[in-house]
Protein backbone atom coordinates (compact mmCIF):
# COMPACT_ATOMS: atom_id res chain seq x y z
CA UNK A 1 0.00 0.00 0.00
CA UNK A 2 2.70 2.43 1.06
CA UNK A 3 4.86 1.61 -1.96
CA UNK A 4 1.84 2.16 -4.20
CA UNK A 5 1.15 5.63 -2.78
CA UNK A 6 4.82 6.56 -2.98
CA UNK A 7 5.05 5.43 -6.62
CA UNK A 8 1.99 7.48 -7.57
CA UNK A 9 3.35 10.58 -5.83
CA UNK A 10 6.74 10.18 -7.52
CA UNK A 11 4.98 9.93 -10.90
CA UNK A 12 3.20 13.20 -10.24
CA UNK A 13 6.43 15.15 -9.60
CA UNK A 14 7.68 15.39 -13.22
CA UNK A 15 4.19 16.41 -14.35
CA UNK A 16 4.09 19.27 -11.86
CA UNK A 17 7.66 20.34 -12.71
CA UNK A 18 6.75 20.49 -16.42
CA UNK A 19 3.68 22.60 -15.75
CA UNK A 20 5.78 24.84 -13.50
CA UNK A 21 8.28 25.20 -16.36
CA UNK A 22 5.50 26.36 -18.71
CA UNK A 23 4.22 28.81 -16.08
CA UNK A 24 7.79 30.05 -15.53
CA UNK A 25 8.37 30.44 -19.28
CA UNK A 26 5.26 32.61 -19.45
CA UNK A 27 6.70 34.86 -16.75
CA UNK A 28 10.20 34.90 -18.18
CA UNK A 29 9.65 35.32 -21.92
CA UNK A 30 6.28 36.98 -22.40
CA UNK A 31 6.37 40.73 -21.98
CA UNK A 32 9.20 42.74 -20.44
CA UNK A 33 8.70 43.26 -16.68
CA UNK A 34 11.75 45.54 -16.42
CA UNK A 35 10.39 47.96 -19.01
CA UNK A 36 7.04 47.96 -17.26
CA UNK A 37 8.53 48.73 -13.86
CA UNK A 38 10.93 51.45 -15.06
CA UNK A 39 8.39 53.42 -17.04
CA UNK A 40 9.33 55.80 -19.86
CA UNK A 41 12.66 57.42 -18.90
CA UNK A 42 15.61 55.44 -17.65
CA UNK A 43 19.34 55.15 -18.19
CA UNK A 44 21.22 52.03 -19.18
CA UNK A 45 22.71 51.88 -15.65
CA UNK A 46 19.28 52.00 -14.04
CA UNK A 47 18.15 49.18 -16.29
CA UNK A 48 21.18 47.03 -15.47
CA UNK A 49 20.71 47.71 -11.76
CA UNK A 50 17.06 46.73 -11.97
CA UNK A 51 17.86 43.55 -13.88
CA UNK A 52 20.45 42.71 -11.24
CA UNK A 53 18.10 43.48 -8.36
CA UNK A 54 15.41 41.23 -9.83
CA UNK A 55 17.94 38.45 -10.39
CA UNK A 56 17.25 38.36 -14.13
CA UNK A 57 21.00 38.20 -14.93
CA UNK A 58 21.31 34.81 -13.25
CA UNK A 59 21.34 31.51 -15.18
CA UNK A 60 17.90 30.40 -16.30
CA UNK A 61 17.78 27.34 -14.04
CA UNK A 62 18.55 29.49 -10.98
CA UNK A 63 15.61 31.71 -11.91
CA UNK A 64 13.43 28.63 -12.39
CA UNK A 65 14.49 27.33 -8.95
CA UNK A 66 13.63 30.68 -7.37
CA UNK A 67 10.26 30.71 -9.13
CA UNK A 68 9.35 27.29 -7.73
CA UNK A 69 10.62 28.30 -4.29
CA UNK A 70 8.38 31.38 -4.31
CA UNK A 71 5.41 29.39 -5.64
CA UNK A 72 5.74 26.80 -2.88
CA UNK A 73 5.61 29.69 -0.40
CA UNK A 74 2.48 31.10 -2.01
CA UNK A 75 4.13 34.08 -3.71
CA UNK A 76 2.94 34.48 -7.29
CA UNK A 77 3.56 38.16 -7.98
CA UNK A 78 1.06 40.93 -8.71
CA UNK A 79 -1.85 40.81 -11.13
CA UNK A 80 -1.26 43.24 -14.03
CA UNK A 81 -4.95 44.05 -14.22
CA UNK A 82 -5.90 44.49 -10.55
CA UNK A 83 -2.45 45.30 -9.05
CA UNK A 84 -3.07 42.93 -6.12
CA UNK A 85 -1.11 39.83 -5.07
CA UNK A 86 -2.33 36.91 -7.19
CA UNK A 87 -2.29 34.52 -4.23
CA UNK A 88 -4.80 36.68 -2.32
CA UNK A 89 -6.97 37.22 -5.40
CA UNK A 90 -7.32 33.50 -6.03
CA UNK A 91 -7.84 32.66 -2.35
CA UNK A 92 -10.67 35.23 -2.19
CA UNK A 93 -12.43 33.56 -5.10
CA UNK A 94 -11.81 29.96 -4.19
CA UNK A 95 -14.83 29.56 -1.84
CA UNK A 96 -17.25 30.61 -4.61
CA UNK A 97 -15.90 27.98 -7.04
CA UNK A 98 -15.67 25.26 -4.39
CA UNK A 99 -19.26 25.77 -3.19
CA UNK A 100 -20.55 25.76 -6.75
CA UNK A 101 -18.62 22.62 -7.74
CA UNK A 102 -19.60 20.84 -4.52
CA UNK A 103 -23.33 21.59 -4.92
CA UNK A 104 -23.23 20.58 -8.59
CA UNK A 105 -21.56 17.26 -7.74
CA UNK A 106 -24.04 16.64 -4.91
CA UNK A 107 -26.98 17.39 -7.19
CA UNK A 108 -25.61 15.10 -9.90
CA UNK A 109 -25.23 12.23 -7.41
CA UNK A 110 -28.52 12.69 -5.56
CA UNK A 111 -30.56 12.88 -8.77
CA UNK A 112 -28.38 10.83 -11.12
CA UNK A 113 -28.05 7.63 -9.06
CA UNK A 114 -31.80 7.07 -8.39
CA UNK A 115 -32.62 7.88 -12.01
CA UNK A 116 -30.00 5.38 -13.13
CA UNK A 117 -31.39 2.70 -10.81
CA UNK A 118 -34.93 3.40 -12.01
CA UNK A 119 -34.07 3.29 -15.72
CA UNK A 120 -32.05 0.13 -15.06
CA UNK A 121 -34.93 -1.71 -13.33
CA UNK A 122 -37.79 -0.49 -15.53
CA UNK A 123 -35.82 -0.77 -18.72
CA UNK A 124 -38.76 -0.56 -21.10
CA UNK A 125 -41.04 1.72 -19.07
CA UNK A 126 -42.31 4.95 -20.62
CA UNK A 127 -40.79 7.19 -17.96
CA UNK A 128 -37.44 5.39 -18.23
CA UNK A 129 -37.37 5.97 -21.98
CA UNK A 130 -38.19 9.64 -21.47
CA UNK A 131 -35.25 9.91 -19.04
CA UNK A 132 -32.94 8.35 -21.62
CA UNK A 133 -34.01 10.74 -24.37
CA UNK A 134 -33.67 13.73 -22.04
CA UNK A 135 -30.19 12.57 -21.05
CA UNK A 136 -29.15 12.41 -24.70
CA UNK A 137 -30.23 16.02 -25.16
CA UNK A 138 -28.48 16.97 -21.92
CA UNK A 139 -25.21 15.54 -23.22
CA UNK A 140 -25.43 17.39 -26.53
CA UNK A 141 -26.37 20.84 -25.23
CA UNK A 142 -23.29 22.93 -24.45
CA UNK A 143 -23.02 24.09 -20.82
CA UNK A 144 -23.37 27.78 -21.63
CA UNK A 145 -26.56 27.18 -23.63
CA UNK A 146 -28.13 25.28 -20.72
CA UNK A 147 -27.29 28.24 -18.48
CA UNK A 148 -28.79 30.74 -20.92
CA UNK A 149 -32.00 28.70 -21.29
CA UNK A 150 -32.36 28.40 -17.50
CA UNK A 151 -31.87 32.16 -17.11
CA UNK A 152 -34.41 32.85 -19.83
CA UNK A 153 -37.06 30.63 -18.22
CA UNK A 154 -36.52 31.03 -14.46
CA UNK A 155 -35.04 34.51 -14.21
CA UNK A 156 -36.45 36.49 -17.14
CA UNK A 157 -39.86 34.92 -17.83
CA UNK A 158 -40.85 33.60 -14.39
CA UNK A 159 -38.67 35.86 -12.24
CA UNK A 160 -38.29 33.20 -9.53
CA UNK A 161 -34.52 33.07 -9.21
CA UNK A 162 -31.64 35.55 -9.58
CA UNK A 163 -29.52 35.24 -12.71
CA UNK A 164 -26.15 36.54 -11.54
CA UNK A 165 -23.88 36.90 -8.51
CA UNK A 166 -23.89 35.05 -5.20
CA UNK A 167 -26.54 36.91 -3.18
CA UNK A 168 -25.87 37.84 0.45
CA UNK A 169 -22.71 36.30 1.86
CA UNK A 170 -21.67 35.37 5.38
CA UNK A 171 -17.93 35.44 6.13
CA UNK A 172 -16.53 32.79 8.45
CA UNK A 173 -12.81 33.41 8.96
CA UNK A 174 -11.44 33.79 5.44
CA UNK A 175 -14.22 31.74 3.86
CA UNK A 176 -17.17 33.69 2.47
CA UNK A 177 -20.17 31.40 2.12
CA UNK A 178 -23.51 31.81 0.38
CA UNK A 179 -24.91 28.62 1.90
CA UNK A 180 -26.26 30.27 5.06
CA UNK A 181 -28.59 32.91 3.63
CA UNK A 182 -31.79 32.50 1.64
CA UNK A 183 -30.64 34.81 -1.16
CA UNK A 184 -27.30 33.01 -1.30
CA UNK A 185 -29.02 29.64 -1.67
CA UNK A 186 -31.41 31.01 -4.28
CA UNK A 187 -28.50 32.38 -6.30
CA UNK A 188 -26.84 28.96 -6.19
CA UNK A 189 -29.74 27.00 -7.73
CA UNK A 190 -29.41 27.86 -11.42
CA UNK A 191 -25.57 27.73 -11.62
CA UNK A 192 -25.49 24.40 -9.76
CA UNK A 193 -28.07 22.86 -12.13
CA UNK A 194 -26.19 24.20 -15.16
CA UNK A 195 -22.89 22.78 -13.99
CA UNK A 196 -24.30 19.51 -12.63
CA UNK A 197 -26.55 18.54 -15.54
CA UNK A 198 -23.86 16.96 -17.68
CA UNK A 199 -22.43 14.95 -14.77
CA UNK A 200 -25.97 13.95 -13.81
CA UNK A 201 -26.71 12.43 -17.22
CA UNK A 202 -23.31 10.75 -17.19
CA UNK A 203 -23.90 9.18 -13.76
CA UNK A 204 -27.43 8.14 -14.74
CA UNK A 205 -26.24 6.36 -17.89
CA UNK A 206 -23.38 4.71 -16.03
CA UNK A 207 -25.52 3.44 -13.14
CA UNK A 208 -28.10 2.17 -15.64
CA UNK A 209 -25.52 0.24 -17.64
CA UNK A 210 -23.98 -1.25 -14.50
CA UNK A 211 -27.40 -2.17 -13.08
CA UNK A 212 -28.33 -4.00 -16.28
CA UNK A 213 -25.07 -5.90 -16.05
CA UNK A 214 -25.40 -6.78 -12.36
CA UNK A 215 -29.10 -7.76 -12.50
CA UNK A 216 -28.18 -10.54 -14.93
CA UNK A 217 -25.61 -12.10 -12.57
CA UNK A 218 -26.00 -15.34 -10.65
CA UNK A 219 -26.05 -13.92 -7.15
CA UNK A 220 -29.07 -11.76 -8.02
CA UNK A 221 -30.87 -14.84 -9.33
CA UNK A 222 -29.97 -16.59 -6.10
CA UNK A 223 -31.25 -13.67 -4.04
CA UNK A 224 -34.54 -13.92 -5.97
CA UNK A 225 -34.64 -17.66 -5.30
CA UNK A 226 -34.21 -16.97 -1.59
CA UNK A 227 -37.38 -14.90 -1.80
CA UNK A 228 -35.87 -11.54 -0.85
CA UNK A 229 -37.97 -8.47 -1.51
CA UNK A 230 -37.44 -6.53 -4.72
CA UNK A 231 -36.29 -3.59 -2.66
CA UNK A 232 -33.61 -5.58 -0.83
CA UNK A 233 -32.39 -7.07 -4.12
CA UNK A 234 -32.27 -3.83 -6.05
CA UNK A 235 -30.74 -1.61 -3.41
CA UNK A 236 -28.99 -3.99 -0.98
CA UNK A 237 -27.41 -6.30 -3.52
CA UNK A 238 -27.39 -4.75 -6.98
CA UNK A 239 -26.77 -1.05 -6.35
CA UNK A 240 -23.90 -1.74 -3.95
CA UNK A 241 -21.99 -3.54 -6.65
CA UNK A 242 -22.46 -0.82 -9.24
CA UNK A 243 -20.78 1.78 -7.08
CA UNK A 244 -17.11 1.06 -7.87
CA UNK A 245 -17.13 2.54 -11.39
CA UNK A 246 -19.44 5.31 -10.20
CA UNK A 247 -16.89 6.40 -7.58
CA UNK A 248 -14.13 6.49 -10.17
CA UNK A 249 -16.11 8.46 -12.70
CA UNK A 250 -17.42 10.93 -10.13
CA UNK A 251 -13.90 11.45 -8.83
CA UNK A 252 -12.42 12.01 -12.26
CA UNK A 253 -15.32 14.27 -13.19
CA UNK A 254 -14.48 16.59 -10.29
CA UNK A 255 -11.74 17.87 -12.57
CA UNK A 256 -14.30 18.34 -15.33
CA UNK A 257 -16.50 20.27 -12.90
CA UNK A 258 -13.63 22.65 -12.15
CA UNK A 259 -13.02 23.14 -15.88
CA UNK A 260 -16.65 23.72 -16.80
CA UNK A 261 -17.17 25.97 -13.79
CA UNK A 262 -15.21 28.46 -15.92
CA UNK A 263 -18.09 28.49 -18.40
CA UNK A 264 -20.85 28.45 -15.77
CA UNK A 265 -19.22 31.27 -13.81
CA UNK A 266 -19.04 33.39 -16.97
CA UNK A 267 -22.73 32.84 -17.77
CA UNK A 268 -23.89 33.69 -14.24
CA UNK A 269 -21.17 36.28 -13.43
CA UNK A 270 -20.32 34.06 -10.45
CA UNK A 271 -17.29 35.63 -8.74
CA UNK A 272 -15.09 32.52 -8.65
CA UNK A 273 -11.67 31.44 -9.92
CA UNK A 274 -12.97 30.58 -13.38
CA UNK A 275 -14.40 34.04 -14.03
CA UNK A 276 -11.10 35.51 -12.81
CA UNK A 277 -9.23 33.32 -15.32
CA UNK A 278 -11.44 34.30 -18.26
CA UNK A 279 -11.15 38.00 -17.42
CA UNK A 280 -7.37 37.60 -17.09
CA UNK A 281 -6.97 35.77 -20.40
CA UNK A 282 -8.89 38.50 -22.24
CA UNK A 283 -6.31 41.11 -21.15
CA UNK A 284 -3.26 38.75 -21.05
CA UNK A 285 -2.76 39.06 -17.28
CA UNK A 286 0.16 36.62 -17.15
CA UNK A 287 0.70 36.25 -13.36
CA UNK A 288 -2.93 35.20 -12.84
CA UNK A 289 -2.81 32.80 -15.81
CA UNK A 290 0.38 31.05 -14.75
CA UNK A 291 -0.78 30.78 -11.12
CA UNK A 292 -4.09 29.28 -12.23
CA UNK A 293 -2.15 26.83 -14.43
CA UNK A 294 -0.05 25.72 -11.45
CA UNK A 295 -2.98 25.53 -9.07
CA UNK A 296 -5.26 23.57 -11.40
CA UNK A 297 -2.50 21.01 -12.12
CA UNK A 298 -1.91 20.47 -8.41
CA UNK A 299 -5.67 19.95 -7.98
CA UNK A 300 -5.88 17.50 -10.89
CA UNK A 301 -2.90 15.49 -9.74
CA UNK A 302 -4.34 15.32 -6.21
CA UNK A 303 -7.80 14.30 -7.44
CA UNK A 304 -6.33 11.54 -9.61
CA UNK A 305 -4.25 10.30 -6.71
CA UNK A 306 -7.26 10.19 -4.37
CA UNK A 307 -9.38 8.39 -6.99
CA UNK A 308 -6.67 5.79 -7.49
CA UNK A 309 -6.46 5.24 -3.75
CA UNK A 310 -10.25 5.00 -3.39
CA UNK A 311 -10.41 2.53 -6.21
CA UNK A 312 -7.76 0.50 -4.49
CA UNK A 313 -9.60 0.65 -1.18
CA UNK A 314 -13.04 -0.22 -2.60
CA UNK A 315 -12.16 -3.08 -4.93
CA UNK A 316 -10.06 -5.78 -3.22
CA UNK A 317 -9.40 -7.49 -6.56
CA UNK A 318 -7.15 -4.61 -7.60
CA UNK A 319 -4.72 -5.27 -4.78
CA UNK A 320 -3.56 -8.41 -6.51
CA UNK A 321 -2.71 -6.95 -9.91
CA UNK A 322 -1.75 -3.46 -8.84
CA UNK A 323 1.17 -3.51 -11.27
CA UNK A 324 -1.21 -3.27 -14.17
CA UNK A 325 -3.01 -0.37 -12.48
CA UNK A 326 0.11 1.70 -11.94
CA UNK A 327 1.46 0.75 -15.34
CA UNK A 328 -1.76 1.52 -17.14
CA UNK A 329 -2.18 5.15 -16.15
Amino acid sequence: MFAFILARILQAVPVLLTVAAIAFALFAYVGDPVAQMLGQDFTVEQRTAMIHALGLDQPIWVQYGRFIWAAVHGEFGLSFRLAKPVGTLILERMPATMELAFCAALLALVVGVPMGVYTGIKRNGGLARLFMILSLIGVSLPTFLIGILLILVFAVLLGWLPSFGRGTLVTIGTWSTGLLTISGLKALVLPAITLGLFQMTLIMRLVRAEMLEVLRSDYIKFARARGLSERAINFGHALKNTLVPVITVVGLQLGGLLAFSIVTETVFQWPGMGLLLVQSIAVADIPVMSTYLLLISVMFVTINLIVDLLYYAVDPRLRINRRSLTGGR
Binding site: I22, V139, T266
Partner: protein, 303 residues
Protein backbone atom coordinates in the same frame (compact mmCIF):
# COMPACT_ATOMS: atom_id res chain seq x y z
CA UNK B 1 -19.12 4.49 -60.60
CA UNK B 2 -18.70 0.84 -59.71
CA UNK B 3 -17.47 1.74 -56.24
CA UNK B 4 -20.56 3.91 -55.80
CA UNK B 5 -22.87 1.11 -56.86
CA UNK B 6 -21.12 -1.25 -54.48
CA UNK B 7 -21.62 1.23 -51.64
CA UNK B 8 -25.38 1.49 -52.27
CA UNK B 9 -25.71 -2.30 -52.37
CA UNK B 10 -23.48 -2.83 -49.35
CA UNK B 11 -24.13 -3.52 -45.67
CA UNK B 12 -23.32 -0.04 -44.48
CA UNK B 13 -25.90 1.65 -46.69
CA UNK B 14 -28.46 -1.02 -45.80
CA UNK B 15 -28.04 -0.42 -42.08
CA UNK B 16 -28.15 3.33 -42.77
CA UNK B 17 -31.52 3.06 -44.51
CA UNK B 18 -32.87 0.92 -41.69
CA UNK B 19 -31.96 3.46 -39.00
CA UNK B 20 -34.33 6.45 -38.88
CA UNK B 21 -32.03 8.22 -36.40
CA UNK B 22 -29.12 8.00 -38.83
CA UNK B 23 -31.21 9.20 -41.78
CA UNK B 24 -32.59 12.23 -39.91
CA UNK B 25 -29.17 13.10 -38.47
CA UNK B 26 -27.60 12.86 -41.92
CA UNK B 27 -30.28 15.19 -43.25
CA UNK B 28 -29.64 17.76 -40.52
CA UNK B 29 -25.89 17.60 -41.12
CA UNK B 30 -26.46 17.88 -44.88
CA UNK B 31 -28.64 20.98 -44.42
CA UNK B 32 -25.95 22.55 -42.22
CA UNK B 33 -23.23 21.77 -44.76
CA UNK B 34 -25.26 23.17 -47.68
CA UNK B 35 -26.12 26.32 -45.71
CA UNK B 36 -22.47 26.71 -44.73
CA UNK B 37 -20.97 26.10 -48.17
CA UNK B 38 -23.52 28.11 -50.14
CA UNK B 39 -23.93 30.91 -47.56
CA UNK B 40 -22.55 33.62 -49.90
CA UNK B 41 -25.01 32.54 -52.61
CA UNK B 42 -28.22 31.74 -50.77
CA UNK B 43 -28.20 33.92 -47.65
CA UNK B 44 -30.72 36.77 -47.97
CA UNK B 45 -28.18 39.43 -46.91
CA UNK B 46 -24.42 39.79 -46.60
CA UNK B 47 -23.79 40.30 -42.85
CA UNK B 48 -20.21 41.50 -43.54
CA UNK B 49 -21.34 44.29 -45.86
CA UNK B 50 -21.36 47.18 -43.40
CA UNK B 51 -22.91 49.55 -45.95
CA UNK B 52 -26.14 47.53 -46.07
CA UNK B 53 -26.61 47.57 -42.29
CA UNK B 54 -29.01 50.08 -40.85
CA UNK B 55 -29.43 50.71 -37.15
CA UNK B 56 -33.09 51.40 -37.91
CA UNK B 57 -33.39 47.65 -38.45
CA UNK B 58 -31.65 46.65 -35.20
CA UNK B 59 -33.24 44.09 -32.88
CA UNK B 60 -36.28 43.39 -35.04
CA UNK B 61 -38.25 40.36 -33.78
CA UNK B 62 -38.97 37.32 -35.99
CA UNK B 63 -41.43 37.82 -38.86
CA UNK B 64 -44.35 36.13 -37.08
CA UNK B 65 -44.09 38.28 -33.92
CA UNK B 66 -45.95 41.58 -33.55
CA UNK B 67 -43.46 44.09 -34.94
CA UNK B 68 -41.76 41.59 -37.19
CA UNK B 69 -40.71 42.38 -40.73
CA UNK B 70 -41.06 39.89 -43.59
CA UNK B 71 -37.65 40.96 -44.89
CA UNK B 72 -35.95 39.46 -41.82
CA UNK B 73 -37.47 36.03 -41.30
CA UNK B 74 -36.09 35.34 -37.81
CA UNK B 75 -35.27 38.92 -36.83
CA UNK B 76 -32.08 40.97 -36.62
CA UNK B 77 -29.32 41.49 -34.04
CA UNK B 78 -28.24 44.68 -32.29
CA UNK B 79 -26.43 46.02 -35.36
CA UNK B 80 -29.33 45.35 -37.69
CA UNK B 81 -27.72 42.25 -39.21
CA UNK B 82 -30.19 39.74 -40.61
CA UNK B 83 -30.04 36.86 -38.12
CA UNK B 84 -30.70 34.09 -40.65
CA UNK B 85 -27.78 35.25 -42.81
CA UNK B 86 -25.55 35.67 -39.75
CA UNK B 87 -26.39 32.11 -38.63
CA UNK B 88 -25.54 30.72 -42.09
CA UNK B 89 -22.15 32.43 -42.08
CA UNK B 90 -21.69 31.49 -38.40
CA UNK B 91 -22.33 27.81 -39.17
CA UNK B 92 -19.76 28.09 -41.96
CA UNK B 93 -17.11 29.50 -39.61
CA UNK B 94 -17.90 27.02 -36.80
CA UNK B 95 -17.73 24.04 -39.16
CA UNK B 96 -14.50 25.15 -40.83
CA UNK B 97 -12.74 25.73 -37.50
CA UNK B 98 -14.00 22.41 -36.13
CA UNK B 99 -12.91 20.50 -39.26
CA UNK B 100 -9.47 22.17 -39.41
CA UNK B 101 -8.92 21.54 -35.69
CA UNK B 102 -9.77 17.85 -36.06
CA UNK B 103 -7.58 17.57 -39.16
CA UNK B 104 -4.71 19.09 -37.17
CA UNK B 105 -5.35 16.80 -34.17
CA UNK B 106 -5.53 13.80 -36.54
CA UNK B 107 -2.20 14.57 -38.21
CA UNK B 108 -0.43 15.04 -34.86
CA UNK B 109 -2.14 12.00 -33.32
CA UNK B 110 -1.48 9.68 -36.27
CA UNK B 111 2.20 10.70 -36.48
CA UNK B 112 2.79 10.23 -32.76
CA UNK B 113 0.79 6.99 -32.64
CA UNK B 114 2.64 5.44 -35.59
CA UNK B 115 6.06 6.37 -34.21
CA UNK B 116 5.22 5.21 -30.67
CA UNK B 117 3.68 1.95 -31.84
CA UNK B 118 6.35 1.09 -34.40
CA UNK B 119 9.45 2.17 -32.48
CA UNK B 120 8.34 0.91 -29.07
CA UNK B 121 10.70 1.09 -26.12
CA UNK B 122 11.63 4.40 -24.54
CA UNK B 123 10.16 6.50 -27.38
CA UNK B 124 6.81 4.77 -26.89
CA UNK B 125 6.95 5.14 -23.10
CA UNK B 126 7.71 8.86 -23.21
CA UNK B 127 5.15 9.72 -25.91
CA UNK B 128 2.34 7.74 -24.29
CA UNK B 129 3.14 9.17 -20.88
CA UNK B 130 2.70 12.68 -22.31
CA UNK B 131 -0.59 11.62 -23.90
CA UNK B 132 -1.81 10.09 -20.61
CA UNK B 133 -1.01 13.19 -18.62
CA UNK B 134 -2.80 15.38 -21.14
CA UNK B 135 -5.82 13.06 -21.15
CA UNK B 136 -6.38 13.66 -17.43
CA UNK B 137 -7.11 17.34 -18.18
CA UNK B 138 -10.44 18.22 -19.85
CA UNK B 139 -9.80 19.29 -23.44
CA UNK B 140 -11.73 22.57 -23.10
CA UNK B 141 -9.39 23.62 -20.28
CA UNK B 142 -6.32 22.86 -22.39
CA UNK B 143 -7.77 24.72 -25.38
CA UNK B 144 -8.57 27.73 -23.17
CA UNK B 145 -5.10 27.83 -21.60
CA UNK B 146 -3.27 27.32 -24.93
CA UNK B 147 -5.38 30.08 -26.47
CA UNK B 148 -4.65 32.33 -23.48
CA UNK B 149 -0.89 31.66 -23.61
CA UNK B 150 -0.74 32.40 -27.36
CA UNK B 151 -2.85 35.51 -26.86
CA UNK B 152 -0.30 36.75 -24.32
CA UNK B 153 2.78 35.59 -26.22
CA UNK B 154 2.02 36.85 -29.74
CA UNK B 155 2.20 40.56 -30.56
CA UNK B 156 -1.29 42.05 -30.63
CA UNK B 157 -1.57 42.90 -34.33
CA UNK B 158 -0.08 39.59 -35.38
CA UNK B 159 -2.52 37.76 -33.10
CA UNK B 160 -5.49 39.58 -34.60
CA UNK B 161 -4.50 38.42 -38.08
CA UNK B 162 -3.77 34.87 -36.89
CA UNK B 163 -6.84 34.47 -34.63
CA UNK B 164 -8.36 31.76 -36.83
CA UNK B 165 -5.18 29.64 -36.80
CA UNK B 166 -4.65 30.21 -33.07
CA UNK B 167 -8.13 28.78 -32.42
CA UNK B 168 -7.55 25.80 -34.74
CA UNK B 169 -4.23 25.11 -33.01
CA UNK B 170 -5.64 25.45 -29.48
CA UNK B 171 -8.65 23.19 -30.13
CA UNK B 172 -6.63 20.67 -32.16
CA UNK B 173 -3.74 20.34 -29.73
CA UNK B 174 -6.25 19.58 -26.96
CA UNK B 175 -7.56 16.52 -28.82
CA UNK B 176 -4.54 14.68 -30.27
CA UNK B 177 -3.92 12.13 -27.45
CA UNK B 178 -7.05 10.10 -28.14
CA UNK B 179 -6.06 9.65 -31.79
CA UNK B 180 -2.48 8.84 -30.86
CA UNK B 181 -3.58 6.12 -28.42
CA UNK B 182 -5.90 4.48 -30.93
CA UNK B 183 -3.31 4.50 -33.75
CA UNK B 184 -0.62 3.19 -31.41
CA UNK B 185 -2.87 0.31 -30.35
CA UNK B 186 -3.58 -0.78 -33.92
CA UNK B 187 0.06 -0.22 -34.95
CA UNK B 188 1.23 -2.60 -32.21
CA UNK B 189 -1.00 -5.29 -33.72
CA UNK B 190 0.01 -4.59 -37.32
CA UNK B 191 3.72 -4.55 -36.49
CA UNK B 192 3.69 -8.29 -35.89
CA UNK B 193 1.96 -9.15 -39.19
CA UNK B 194 3.80 -10.89 -42.00
CA UNK B 195 3.50 -8.09 -44.54
CA UNK B 196 5.40 -5.76 -42.21
CA UNK B 197 8.12 -8.36 -41.67
CA UNK B 198 8.34 -8.84 -45.44
CA UNK B 199 8.77 -5.11 -45.91
CA UNK B 200 11.50 -5.09 -43.26
CA UNK B 201 13.27 -8.02 -44.91
CA UNK B 202 13.47 -6.33 -48.31
CA UNK B 203 15.09 -3.39 -46.53
CA UNK B 204 12.48 -0.64 -46.67
CA UNK B 205 13.08 2.31 -44.34
CA UNK B 206 10.98 2.45 -41.15
CA UNK B 207 9.47 5.70 -42.44
CA UNK B 208 8.34 4.04 -45.66
CA UNK B 209 6.90 1.04 -43.76
CA UNK B 210 4.98 3.31 -41.40
CA UNK B 211 3.52 5.62 -44.01
CA UNK B 212 2.72 3.33 -46.91
CA UNK B 213 2.25 -0.07 -45.28
CA UNK B 214 0.94 0.33 -41.73
CA UNK B 215 -0.94 3.63 -42.04
CA UNK B 216 -3.61 2.44 -44.53
CA UNK B 217 -4.39 -0.48 -42.23
CA UNK B 218 -4.83 1.53 -39.04
CA UNK B 219 -6.82 4.43 -40.47
CA UNK B 220 -10.37 3.00 -40.10
CA UNK B 221 -11.02 3.18 -36.33
CA UNK B 222 -9.31 6.55 -35.94
CA UNK B 223 -11.51 8.12 -38.62
CA UNK B 224 -14.63 6.98 -36.77
CA UNK B 225 -13.33 8.61 -33.57
CA UNK B 226 -12.62 11.72 -35.61
CA UNK B 227 -16.33 11.97 -36.57
CA UNK B 228 -17.33 11.80 -32.92
CA UNK B 229 -14.69 14.42 -32.06
CA UNK B 230 -15.85 16.82 -34.77
CA UNK B 231 -19.02 17.61 -32.82
CA UNK B 232 -16.99 18.14 -29.66
CA UNK B 233 -14.49 20.39 -31.47
CA UNK B 234 -17.35 22.55 -32.77
CA UNK B 235 -18.62 22.81 -29.18
CA UNK B 236 -15.10 23.74 -27.99
CA UNK B 237 -14.96 26.56 -30.50
CA UNK B 238 -18.43 27.78 -29.53
CA UNK B 239 -17.48 27.70 -25.86
CA UNK B 240 -14.24 29.65 -26.41
CA UNK B 241 -16.06 32.22 -28.54
CA UNK B 242 -18.78 32.47 -25.90
CA UNK B 243 -16.13 33.13 -23.24
CA UNK B 244 -14.88 35.98 -25.42
CA UNK B 245 -11.52 34.46 -26.37
CA UNK B 246 -12.56 33.23 -29.81
CA UNK B 247 -13.13 35.11 -33.04
CA UNK B 248 -13.90 38.83 -33.09
CA UNK B 249 -17.57 39.95 -33.39
CA UNK B 250 -16.87 41.18 -36.94
CA UNK B 251 -16.48 37.52 -37.96
CA UNK B 252 -19.11 35.84 -35.80
CA UNK B 253 -19.18 32.07 -35.32
CA UNK B 254 -22.25 30.51 -33.69
CA UNK B 255 -20.62 30.88 -30.26
CA UNK B 256 -19.98 34.59 -30.85
CA UNK B 257 -23.60 35.10 -31.96
CA UNK B 258 -24.85 33.44 -28.76
CA UNK B 259 -22.50 35.63 -26.73
CA UNK B 260 -23.83 38.79 -28.42
CA UNK B 261 -27.42 37.64 -27.91
CA UNK B 262 -26.79 36.91 -24.25
CA UNK B 263 -26.53 40.68 -23.64
CA UNK B 264 -30.11 41.17 -24.80
CA UNK B 265 -31.70 38.31 -22.88
CA UNK B 266 -33.00 40.56 -20.11
CA UNK B 267 -34.53 43.16 -22.36
CA UNK B 268 -36.70 40.48 -23.97
CA UNK B 269 -34.88 40.08 -27.30
CA UNK B 270 -34.65 36.31 -26.88
CA UNK B 271 -34.34 35.47 -30.58
CA UNK B 272 -30.82 36.88 -30.93
CA UNK B 273 -29.44 34.12 -28.69
CA UNK B 274 -32.00 31.30 -29.05
CA UNK B 275 -31.81 30.75 -32.83
CA UNK B 276 -28.02 30.43 -33.03
CA UNK B 277 -28.27 28.23 -29.91
CA UNK B 278 -30.79 25.87 -31.51
CA UNK B 279 -28.67 25.70 -34.69
CA UNK B 280 -25.55 24.81 -32.70
CA UNK B 281 -27.31 22.21 -30.55
CA UNK B 282 -29.07 20.55 -33.52
CA UNK B 283 -25.87 20.40 -35.56
CA UNK B 284 -23.78 18.91 -32.75
CA UNK B 285 -26.50 16.44 -31.75
CA UNK B 286 -26.82 15.28 -35.38
CA UNK B 287 -23.04 14.88 -35.80
CA UNK B 288 -22.83 12.91 -32.53
CA UNK B 289 -25.70 10.59 -33.47
CA UNK B 290 -24.23 10.05 -36.93
CA UNK B 291 -20.83 9.29 -35.42
CA UNK B 292 -22.39 6.79 -32.98
CA UNK B 293 -24.21 5.09 -35.80
CA UNK B 294 -21.09 4.96 -37.97
CA UNK B 295 -19.12 3.38 -35.13
CA UNK B 296 -21.68 0.63 -34.64
CA UNK B 297 -22.22 0.08 -38.36
CA UNK B 298 -18.56 -0.21 -39.35
CA UNK B 299 -17.38 -2.33 -36.47
CA UNK B 300 -19.76 -3.98 -34.03
CA UNK B 301 -16.81 -5.03 -31.90
CA UNK B 302 -15.54 -1.50 -31.38
CA UNK B 303 -17.89 -0.88 -28.48
Amino acid sequence: MQALARFFDGDVFYSFRRSPVAVISAMVVAICIVAAVLAPLISPYDPFDLASLSLMDSLRPPAWAGEGDRAHLIGTDDQGRDLLSAIMYGTRISMVIGAFAIAFALSVGITVGLIAGYMGGAVDAVLMRIADVQLTFPSILIALLVDGILRAALPREFHERMEFYVLVFAIGIARWPQFARTVRGSTLVERGREYVMAAQVIGLSPRRIMTSHILPNVLGPVLVIATLNLGLAILDEATLSFLGVGLAPTQPSLGTLIRIGNNFLFSGEWWVTIFPGITLAAMVLAINLLGDWLRDALNPRLR
